[in-house]
Amino acid sequence: MSTEKGPIRITYREAMKQAIRDALLRDPRVFVMGEDVGRYGGCYAVTKGLLDEFGPERIRDTPLSESAFVGAGIGAAMGGMRPIIEMMTVNFSLLALDQIVNNAATILHMSGGQFNVPLVIRMTTGAGRQLAAQHSHSLEGWYAHIPGLKVLAPATLEDARGMLWTALEDPDPVLIFEHNALYNMEGELAPDAGAIDIDKAAIRRPGADVTLITYGGSLRKAIEAAENLAQEHIEAEVLDLRSLRPLDTSTFIDSVSRTHRAVIIDEGWRTGGISAEISARIMEEAFYELDCPVARVCSAEVPIPYAKHLEDAALPQVASIMEVVKQMMGGHG
């Protein structure tokens, strides 16, 4: 039997679970708190099995009291613990918006630097499972508006496995957005995969003709679009933002300065969204590098509908990304 370990096959869900388990093993201050994280096993089964291993003190089921358990996470963090809060969906986090925006994001500043809030909140985000308008929204861009928060969007197995520990080591509140369509994504992960930086955007596919800037659940669609475009001799570079706050501006400015074209793909709405922010930064810092206007592929300006054909039509898709890129290349190629 070989002692050398090759890559392991793993799902995004399992990678996230391993990250949580690893954190619980590494640091006695870490605990998990949220709705149905214990006996039920987590709404998306991310925490399944952890109750048996770590017990109800550290895998803590809460009542449906989002504001209280997020606020309790803030208090526990200030009191020396390292809570990981699970929010079933970003829509439910709106019930805790007061605690996240008025307390977690402000206390360090309001206290003149005396009290930091080392809290991690994991949330499911995004559409694609016919869950309609109260379980499908992508509000990470909203949270990225708030100074004092950090906003992460792991889109790969490495990031699902590695971002959590780095977030837990961060002295300030970190929100991690997990797109629900990614949980079943399967692939290979190095057996020693672990903590990973959360500061830099990543080029997931190099290309010379156009930069596709995206994150989270749209990354796979962007890569698929890029691969299809390669058949048509258009080489798209795919850039995964990884963090929406802070934004690693220099990496996308460098990329756009090489390709001279940018398309932003964001499952959030176009109006006032993170895509608008990225576009503005390109205008501010790389305007004279551009061969054509920045384009965006975002969700339609509608609450996400239930019916599959309508939901599909509301979201960025491989075809719509390709179409925008081809239009751009046709006009200026």
Partner: protein, 333 residues
């Protein structure tokens, strides 16, 4: 003060009674000075005075120990002062100076102090309750025998966060002492105009939280009730709720013409002024002389004059430091 010394008899001790008088006068005179400085435009923003309610914080603070935590509201100058934050740093904070206890970033509503475990003036009604629950949760999980005292007004009972926090604290048997300062008005809205059930203890009791009403105009009653509740909370009995029935003699803030209450009502309550009441009791029993009272007043006047001078002479944070304390300056907590 050790817990052993924390016995009911100590409240009848002469020196202790004189100290209660001193503390109430400190808060009263400090607040009067704040009003004066507000009118002189030295203090800006919102300013909420504690005049009339001094017995509550003075009584309660006698019992709380240095290792305990305090969560307060935007009407918290008195609590901060009584907790041991210097009059100098509180006044400097209100002047917006860097010597202030929150480096001038919080102001009147956001006094913070790590050294005395003072977790802030919170200016969102009800927003501090979940944080108090979390601080207590951390203590419980870390095996520390401490109490978290959470002060809030009766207006908070209309907030969901009150109910969520009562439930969570009771469900998890957490050491939180909920101190409700019922001054009858949530800004301008009378309790009876906003609640179908005005018995606040009943609301707390419905979550299995032991609850008592307390005469909030009688400092000795406040101290005794707090001690009784504190011992229960401290010994692992779970949260307690105290409803201190009190009254605010001044306007809600400096912008309030008080159209919502009769002058007659204010005058009636002023007859129960906690300071003059204690003074009469002490004078009747020969426990304090006019000379001693004058000496107290002189000492307090000197402390406040010194604090005001300190604040005047304080320095302003350089504008270059504007965005400090949005994120911690060091990673790895």
């Amino acid at each position: 003060m050790s817990l052993a010394a924390n016995s009911p008899e100590s409240t009848l001790d002469r020196a202790h009674c004189v100290d209660l008088m001193r503390q109430m006068l400190r808060v009263r005179r400090f607040e009067e000075k704040c009003a004066e400085l507000y009118n002189a435009s030295k203090i800006r923003g919102f300013l909420h005075l504690y005049i009339g309610e001094e017995a509550v914080a003075v009584g309660a603070m006698q019992v709380l120990q240095p290792e305990d935590a305090i969560v307060a509201t935007y009407r918290e100058h008195g609590h901060a002062l009584l907790r041991g934050i210097s009059a100098r740093s509180i006044m400097a904070e209100m002047f917006g100076k860097v010597e202030g206890c929150s480096r001038g970033r919080g102001g009147s509503m956001h006094l913070f102090d790590a050294a005395t475990r003072f977790y802030g003036g919170n200016a969102i009604v009800g927003g501090g309750l979940p944080i108090a629950v979390g601080l207590a949760l951390a203590d419980k999980m870390l095996g520390r025998e401490r109490v978290t005292a959470c002060f809030f007004g009766e207006g908070a009972v209309a907030e969901g966060e009150f109910h969520e926090s009562m439930n969570l604290a009771a469900l998890w048997n957490l050491p939180v002492l909920f101190c409700c300062e019922n001054n009858l008005y949530a800004m301008g809205t009378a309790l009876k105009r906003s609640e179908s059930e005005v018995d606040l203890c009943l609301k707390a009791s419905s979550y299995e939280v032991p609850a008592w009403p307390v005469d909030g105009m009688d400092v000795i009653a406040c101290e005794n009730a707090t001690r009784h509740a504190y011992l229960s909370v401290h010994s692992g009995g779970g949260p307690c709720f105290l409803e201190f029935r009190t009254y605010r003699f001044r306007a809600h803030s400096m912008f309030d013409p008080q159209l919502y209450r009769d002058k007659q009502e204010i005058e009636e309550w002023k007859k129960r002024d906690p300071i003059t009441s204690l003074q009469s009791r002490l004078t009747e029993r020969g426990l304090i002389s006019d000379g001693e009272l004058k000496q107290l007043e002189d000492e307090i006047a000197a402390e406040i004059a010194d604090a005001t001078e300190f604040a005047e002479k304080g320095t302003l944070e350089p504008v270059e430091a504007l965005v400090r304390f949005v994120y911690s300056e060091k990673r790895g907590a």
